[in-house]
C-alpha cells in the first residue's frame, strides 16, 4: 500500500505523464454468448480486423477499444452501457446484434450524448418517431432487406408467393416489409412458432399450395431447420427460396451446406461487390481468419470502426466537441465496403441493395454470388415520421 502511494506521488511529480492524452474510448457491447453468439462472433472479427488495420488508433490518435460480452440480453446490456458511460467515459458506442438490445440501450446513450453507431440492428422506432442525432444506423433499416426481397419476387414474376415468419413482432414487420416491396397480394401468409424445430406440417402445406417461390424470414436455427427439411422433402425442385440476407449469409451456409444452393437473398453488401475497399477488406479478412469468407455482420462491424476513424480524423481528435463529431459522422466520408452512401434526416443510410444467389464458385465452395442491384438508392419508409 505504502509503495503504491509513493509511486503515485512520484508519478504526480512528473508533469504530463499521467495525463499525456486521454485515449479516445470506444465501448463495444459484444454478443458472444446467448441467442446471437454466432453473429456476434462475426461482428467481433470485423471489429478486430479494422482495429488491427488502424494500428489500434483512431484518426491517428491513441484509442482504447473496450469489448465486453453482454450475451444478447437487454438487461445485461443496459448495465454494461451504464458502466461504459459512468466509469469508462466512452466517446462512441457500438456492438449489439439484436434490435431489442439497441432499443434498450439507445435512450441512455442519447441522453449521455454518446454517438451510437449501429453495426447491425436498425429498428423502425429509431428511424421514425424516436429518431435521434446521436444514432447512426450505419448498417440498414430493418425493413430494407425484406422490401428488397419483395421487389425481387415481383421483378422475377414469382406468382402465388407463400411468405413465412415466426409469430412475433419482428416476424410481422418482416412480412409487411416484403408485401410493401411485392405490391401484389401474396398467396399465403404463414406464421410459425418461435423456435420451431419441425416444419413438416408447413412443408406439406407448401407442397399442396404449389407456389412458385417461398419467402422465409426465419432467423438463426429456425431457418437452418426449415431449409434442411425443405430440401429433404424434395421441394427445392419446384419451389424457389427467397430470403433476407441474414438467412442466406456465409454463417448459415457453413452450417447447412449443399441444401442452400439456389437460394436468393438480399442485402446492402456482398463479398464480391466490386470496389477497392471491399476487395481489400475481403482479402484481409480471409487472410486473418483462416480463409473464411466474411458475412454481412463482419462487413458492417468493419465499416463502423472505419466510420469512427474518419470522424475522429475530421475533428482532429477533439471528440469532446460532440456537435462537430456528429457533423463529421453524418457526412459518411469514409471508404465503406459497400461503396459510397449518404444518410437521410433520420441518420439511416440511403443506399443500394443487391440480390445475391447461393452457388458453387470456381473452387467448388458454396458461397453467395452477386446477381445485381434491386434498388439503386433505397430510403426507409419511416423517415417521414422523424421530426427533428
Amino acid at each position: 500500500m505504502r509503495l503504491i502511494k509513493q509511486l503515485l506521488a512520484l508519478a504526480a511529480l512528473v508533469p504530463g505523464l499521467a495525463f499525456a492524452q486521454a485515449p479516445i474510448k470506444v465501448g463495444i457491447a459484444n454478443d458472444l454468448s446467448g441467442p446471437f453468439a454466432a453473429l456476434g462472433a462475426e461482428a467481433r472479427d470485423g471489429f478486430n480486423l479494422a482495429i488491427k488495420e488502424l494500428g489500434g488508433k483512431l484518426g491517428g490518435k491513441p484509442a482504447e477499444f473496450l469489448q465486453t460480452d453482454m450475451g444478447g440480453n437487454p438487461d445485461q446490456a443496459r448495465q454494461l452501457v451504464n458502466r461504459y458511460i459512468q466509469r469508462d467515459k466512452i466517446d462512441f458506442f457500438t456492438g449489439p446484434i439484436g434490435s431489442n438490445v439497441a432499443l434498450a440501450v439507445g435512450p441512455t446513450l442519447f441522453a449521455a450524448k454518446i454517438p451510437y453507431l449501429s453495426n447491425n440492428p436498425g429498428p423502425s422506432q429509431f428511424a421514425g418517431a424516436q429518431c435521434n442525432d446521436y444514432w447512426f444506423g450505419v448498417s440498414y433499416q430493418n425493413d430494407a432487406f425484406h422490401e428488397a426481397a419483395g421487389k425481387v419476387a415481383a421483378d422475377r414474376g414469382f406468382k402465388n408467393m407463400v411468405i413465412m415468419a415466426p409469430d412475433y413482432p419482428a416476424g410481422k414487420d418482416a412480412l409487411n416489409g416484403f408485401k410493401r416491396g411485392y405490391k401484389a397480394p401474396v398467396g399465403q401468409e404463414v406464421y410459425t412458432k418461435l423456435g420451431q424445430i419441425d416444419y413438416a406440417a408447413e412443408l406439406a402445406q407448401l407442397r399442396d399450395a404449389k407456389p412458385e417461390a417461398v419467402y422465409i424470414f426465419l432467423p438463426g436455427g429456425m431457418g437452418i431447420n426449415f431449409i434442411k427439411q425443405f430440401v429433404s422433402a424434395g421441394l427445392n425442385k419446384s419451389i424457389k427460396i427467397v430470403g433476407p440476407g441474414f438467412s442466406g449469409d456465409e454463417d448459415v451456409i457453413r452450417a447447412v451446406g449443399e441444401p442452400m444452393l439456389g437460394m436468393f437473398n438480399t442485402a446492402q453488401w456482398a463479398h464480391d461487390l466490386d470496389n477497392a475497399q471491399n476487395k481489400k477488406f475481403v482479402a484481409a479478412f480471409r487472410k486473418e481468419y483462416n480463409n473464411r469468407t466474411p458475412s454481412v455482420y463482419a462487413a458492417q462491424a468493419y465499416d463502423v470502426i472505419m466510420a469512427i476513424d474518419a470522424a475522429v480524423k475530421a475533428t482532429k481528435g477533439n471528440v469532446a466537441d460532440r456537435p462537430a463529431v456528429l457533423a463529421a459522422l453524418k457526412k459518411a466520408d469514409f471508404a465503406s465496403v459497400r461503396g459510397p452512401f449518404t444518410y437521410g434526416i433520420n441518420n439511416f443510410p440511403i443506399q443500394p441493395y443487391y440480390l445475391r444467389v447461393i452457388e458453387k464458385n470456381a473452387q467448388g465452395q458454396i458461397t453467395n454470388k452477386l446477381v445485381g442491384k434491386v434498388f439503386d438508392s433505397y430510403q426507409d419508409v419511416y423517415v417521414g415520421q422523424c421530426k427533428k
Partner: protein, 306 residues
C-alpha cells in the same frame, strides 16, 4: 383439403411424436428409477448431435456417426452419474433441478469452447436425402421414414427390454417401489448407473438422427426439452408406456394444430381474425392438451406409481 394432404400430415405427426419419444424415453426412465428430474437431459441430446456431426465430417459415414455419438454420450452420462447425479439422488427435487440446471449452463459453454458459437453442419446420408413416392400422389422424405422406423424400433426394443428381460424386471421394480426393491436385494447403485447411461444413449441417438434435419447449435437441448417435458407429464412421469402415448399425442396434436387450425378458423371467422388467432392457438394446442389431461388425470395417463 385432399386426403393425400391429411395422410401426409398424419405421417408428419407420427414422425414428430416418435422423435420426441426417443428423448422422452430416456428422461422418463431416469425419473422413474432414480426419482430425479434431470433437466440436463436436453444437453445430452445436444452432445449426441455435436459428436455425430463431428464424426460424420471425419468419417463420412452416417452409421459410424450414430454409433460414436451413442457411445461417447453414454460415457459422458457415466461420468455425470458418478460425479453429480449420484449425489443428487438423496436431495430434494429443488436441489436436483438446480444441480442439473447448472449442467445445462456448463454443457453449453463447453460445447462453445470445443466447436465455437456458430451452428455446426451435418450432411444427410446421400441415399436418404430425397423424397420417396409412397402412393402416386404422396411423396415423403426418405429420411423422415428412417426416423419413423428407428423410433418404432426403439419403442419395441424398450418394450421388450422392460417386459421380457431380467434387467427390465429390476427397472420395473425400481420404478414402482424403490425401497422395496432395495430390500429385496437389487443392487441399486449399479441399476441407477445403467439406467442413466441408457437414457443418455437414447438422447444421443435422437440427437444424431435429428442432426441432419435440424440446426446443431448450443441451446438446442433446452428448446426440445420443454416439448419433451410436456410429453412425459401427459403420459405420467416415470412411465415408459406413458412417454410413448404422450409423445405421439403431442406429435399429432401439434402437427394438426399447425396444419389445420388456421384454415379451420377461416371457416368461422374473418380472415384477419383467423390469421392472427390461428398461429397463436396452434402454438398453444399442446399446452391446452396437457391442461385438459391434468384436469382429468392429475398424475398423467399412465401413472408410474399407484
Amino acid at each position: 383439403m385432399s386426403s393425400t394432404l391429411i395422410a401426409e400430415q398424419l405421417l408428419n405427426g407420427l414422425q414428430f411424436g416418435l422423435m420426441l419419444f426417443l428423448i422422452a424415453a430416456g428422461l422418463t426412465l431416469v425419473f422413474g428409477i432414480l426419482d430425479i428430474l434431470n433437466v440436463a437431459h436436453g444437453s445430452l441430446y445436444m452432445a449426441g448431435a455435436y459428436v455425430a456431426a463431428q464424426t460424420m465430417q471425419v468419417t463420412q459415414s452416417f452409421v459410424a456417426a450414430v454409433v460414436v455419438a451413442a457411445v461417447v454420450t453414454g460415457l459422458v452420462g457415466l461420468v455425470l452419474e458418478l460425479v453429480l447425479i449420484r449425489k443428487l439422488v438423496i436431495r430434494d427435487h429443488l436441489a436436483q433441478v438446480l444441480g442439473t440446471f447448472a449442467v445445462i449452463l456448463i454443457a453449453n459453454d463447453v460445447i462453445k469452447m470445443i466447436w465455437g458459437p456458430a451452428p455446426m453442419m451435418m450432411s444427410m446420408p446421400p441415399a436418404l436425402s430425397g423424397p420417396v413416392q409412397l402412393t402416386p400422389d404422396l411423396m415423403y422424405p426418405a429420411y423422415r421414414l428412417l426416423i419413423i422406423a428407428v423410433g418404432l424400433a426403439a419403442a419395441l426394443g424398450l418394450y421388450l427390454f422392460v417386459t421380457r428381460t431380467r434387467a427390465g424386471v429390476l427397472v420395473r421394480a425400481g420404478a414402482s417401489n424403490r425401497q422395496m426393491a432395495t430390500l429385496m436385494g437389487v443392487r441399486v447403485p449399479l441399476l441407477f448407473l445403467g439406467v442413466f447411461v441408457l437414457g443418455a444413449m437414447l438422447a444421443a441417438l435422437a440427437g444424431a438422427l435429428l442432426g441432419p434435419v435440424t440446426a446443431i447449435q448450443t441451446g438446442m437441448g433446452e428448446q426440445i426439452l420443454i416439448l419433451v417435458l410436456v410429453c412425459i407429464v401427459i403420459g405420467g412421469i416415470g412411465s415408459m408406456r406413458g412417454a410413448f402415448v404422450g409423445a405421439l399425442l403431442v406429435g399429432f396434436v401439434d402437427t394438426a394444430g399447425r396444419a389445420f387450425l388456421p384454415s379451420l378458423l377461416k371457416l368461422f371467422f374473418s380472415p384477419a381474425v383467423a390469421s392472427s388467432v390461428g398461429p397463436t392457438l396452434a402454438a398453444l394446442s399442446i399446452y391446452i392438451l396437457m391442461a385438459v389431461v391434468l384436469v382429468f388425470r392429475p398424475s398423467g395417463l399412465f401413472p408410474a406409481r399407484g
